[in-house]
Symmetry: C2
Subunit: 204 residues, 2 copies
């Protein structure tokens, strides 16, 4: 009992881990707990339309419930800061060790495996879960005039690369995603790679 209660109270801390995504109404930054809820719900909503109905929705949802728990120790990293990813992964590995070990025997191991499956990005379920995890912040970024993108001078090609898992897991959404990204460039939320190369050439 004590192990389970401790784990549930430890998980509460994820509500204080701030992400780089604004809520759709722009009122504040999102925290990692409410984000985890949002993507788990979105997975349930989008699952019907996904190809490969052999997938296990339950594992997708459970993966999304645990996928950010390691951020209790490691914090959230802006996904476009790719140079910091190796150090972040090491922090997350240590966090997983500590956090999942709070649970007695089998249950901690089960959650750790769900987290690892999400991270490994190999099973169809993990690919679907990752695709939903990338779609949700895109929707909120579009609603908030790309504030985080503008602040960090993010390029169109970076976002397309980041969204690529959607192409295979939610193919019927891919065109819609590309349209959103084009729209973001037009509105000045994202830097157009080609234009930015051209302007660098001009300066030479």
């Amino acid at each position: 009992v004590a192990g389970q209660i401790n784990f549930i109270l430890e998980a509460d801390k994820l509500k204080t881990v701030t992400r780089n995504t604004l809520l759709a109404d722009g009122s504040r930054f999102e925290n990692a707990a409410e984000h985890s809820w949002h993507v788990a719900l979105a997975a349930v909503v989008l699952f019907d339309s996904a190809p490969g109905q052999g997938m296990d929705l339950s594992r997708i949802v459970n993966m999304l419930l645990v996928h950010d728990l390691v951020e209790i120790d490691a914090g959230d990293l802006l996904c476009y800061h790719t140079d910091q990813v190796p150090a972040q992964k090491e922090k997350e590995r240590k966090a997983a060790e500590r956090i999942f070990n709070l649970l007695p025997d089998g249950r901690g191991e089960l959650l750790r495996q769900l987290w690892q499956e999400f991270e490994a990005f190999e099973t169809p379920e993990a690919r679907f879960a990752n695709a939903v995890d990338r779609l949700q912040p895109l929707l909120q970024a579009m609603r908030t005039e790309g504030q985080t993108w503008r602040q960090h001078r993010i390029r169109k090609d970076q976002v397309i690369e980041r969204m690529r898992p959607i192409r295979a897991a939610l193919p019927y959404l891919w065109e819609y995603v590309l349209e959103m990204i084009e729209d973001a460039v037009k509105k000045g939320y994202l830097i157009d790679e080609e234009e930015s190369k051209a302007s660098r050439k001009d300066k030479k």
Copy 2:
């Protein structure tokens, strides 16, 4: 596509619905979205130890993901304000009508059924989900010196009544829950019914 995206963006609003529960660190009130994540995760953690292994964990988790969506329109009601429950239920019924209808055909109906199942409190899965939904705020209340209880002058018997679903769904936790409540009375977080009756008699 538009229906699903609209629904996902509509759901974002649950992050701004404030509950009467403080986070375990007391820093602020919890919102209904992060609460929904927390109870869904707690259900996964506690499921192993539940009696009746014939239950479908996936339905429990999905129920908990959608159970508070109606609060986007209806807001959160302090569970001990029982006189306001009928009016609240009517608001929630209208909210369900609007929110689940944002989704195309089958998927909206599926989510509405999950919400109804949770509310009806009849299936073993709904009883388990409700038990977890009651346990989590109790844990946070204990960590925050029962601030909400003290503010609203909540009695011990009200909390025992509220926690009762835990007795059947998570019997191995029931003794632990009763101990927490006794502890809360000792520490002055909750009013002891008997003592309060006695003191009323004294005054006569």
